[in-house]
Amino acid sequence: MIKLLSSMRFAFWLLLSIIIWLFIGAMLTIHDNFYYAIKEMGNELILDWILEKSSNSPTVLIWFIGLCLIGFLLAVSFIFCTWYNLLKVARKQASLKSILLFIIHILFVIIMALHLGSMLLGYKYSDVELAVGQEFKFDEGYSIKLNKVHYIDDINVLKMKYKEMRKYHTRNGFHYKDNYAQLTLKQNDKEIKSEKTSMLSPFKYGCLRATISYFYLPKGSESDTPGIKLVIAKNYFNELFFIFYALEIISILIFLLITWKKK
């Protein structure tokens, strides 16, 4: 059994399976219904999506379960192959090449585990619409309030549909650094932090981030002041994810450099 789980054959077929499965996922997004269902998966933690919304789209749920199954088997294959083959070779040969191969695989498993962690732990709220003066209450007694919006560009562009709007969002048409929102974070009604937040420059407090994804015009509002669409997320693994991702790239690069010349 161990021989099978740690074999290259098992790893190869699983790799092929996950490629096909992901390709099916990509094909599903062509259909509007599936596109929105898959988009919804990313709007909150996957666990919340499974419990609350997955029943609306059984096909996507089945696809997701299949992905988890293949992903799990691939992780098993990775762990067994790393432990029984690569570690053995690294110990026996003690060469930089074999040690690096071992490290690359270990790092890949860690990155996958961090992906899993970020899907399960913390919380996430997407498309939170806030008009000036409005507040959004969420976990741990936190609330975030939009105090003020400073918007210098043409407000009429915000009335357009996304694709049309994009044509006007040029470097001269949309000044993302000058358009900002004044946000205040409170915990149990006690102010913790208040700062100006613009697009691509999120509001940060520990592992908590409030990211402006868009400015929008609140429906029914007579005022010409835009509101903001926020993504509020608490994720413990983001920084670690980037660190291990960078380490993985560096390890593969060193591996390539030492094996570049054919012996």
Partner: protein
């Protein structure tokens, strides 16, 4: 400079590539050197021109990105063909590949992507540019694999070509991952997460995993050099197809 000028440059590059293909077919190897330099200059002008017209380096439109890939492949061809001591070691087959790529542009809208406010961020441009570069490396790996199949008689050269293909496949994967790293950072700042369930994420994962396939071929499946080469070639072809597919 306007988009119309870019179209003229495109046809000049196409013509020079086509001339090189004729030289390869008629075995006029000495002349290839000169037209290669001209083709590189022309493809380079398309790259610079795309920047001048759109205000940013090529991002995702097939008109500019494929010419960008062609530029990378031609440069690599120049470097490696220069090192080649005899015509057997050269990889003139690359001119057929770049001709096919350049012709593919004809099926696309011949216009560079317009401006977008995020294009002044280096990580946004790097996301696109590194992906384009990685595809260039994958195409170069494909060229070496095909050259190794053609070059059956000399085992030494064949091994050299296969090893070079292996190097450029791994290098392509590294550059692709670097691009994804930039993309993740962009996604993190825009959407609050380093990655998102989306078609883009699935396609990127498929491309990366395909690049990993050739280094995970089981012995019972790829028990000969030729089989290993063909399977690796299929994986690389699929990466290129995935990239060229409209999405």
């Amino acid at each position: 400079m306007t988009n119309q000028h870019l179209i003229y440059i495109y046809f000049v590059t196409l013509l020079l590539i086509a001339i090189n293909v004729i030289f390869v077919l008629t075995k006029k190897y000495k002349l290839i050197k000169y037209t290669s330099v001209l083709a590189t200059i022309s493809a380079g002008s398309a790259y610079v021109g795309a920047y001048l017209v759109s205000g940013h380096l090529p991002v995702y439109d097939k008109f500019a990105t494929i010419q960008n890939i062609v530029f990378i492949v031609i440069i690599l061809g120049l470097i490696y063909n220069r090192k080649a001591q005899n015509k057997d070691k050269s990889i003139n087959i690359l001119w057929f590949f770049v001709l096919a790529l350049q012709l593919f542009v004809l099926t696309q809208k011949m216009e560079v992507t317009g401006d977008y406010y995020m294009y002044d961020k280096s990580y946004v441009i790097l996301f696109f540019q590194l992906r384009i570069t990685s595809i260039g490396f994958f195409v170069f790996a494909m060229i070496n694999l095909v050259a190794s199949i053609i070059n059956k008689s000399d085992f030494k050269i064949q091994d050299l070509l296969i090893h070079r293909a292996r190097n450029f496949t791994i290098l392509g994967s590294i550059v692709f991952l670097l691009g994804e790293f930039s993309g993740s950072y962009w996604c993190f700042l825009w959407w609050g997460d380093p990655w998102h369930w989306s078609k883009g994420f699935f396609i990127a994962s498929v491309m990366f995993l395909l690049s990993m396939l050739s280094s995970h071929l089981p012995f019972n499946l790829a028990n000969t050099k030729l089989k290993k080469t063909i399977y690796s070639l299929i994986a690389l072809c699929l990466i290129l197809t995935t990239y060229l597919l409209p999405h």
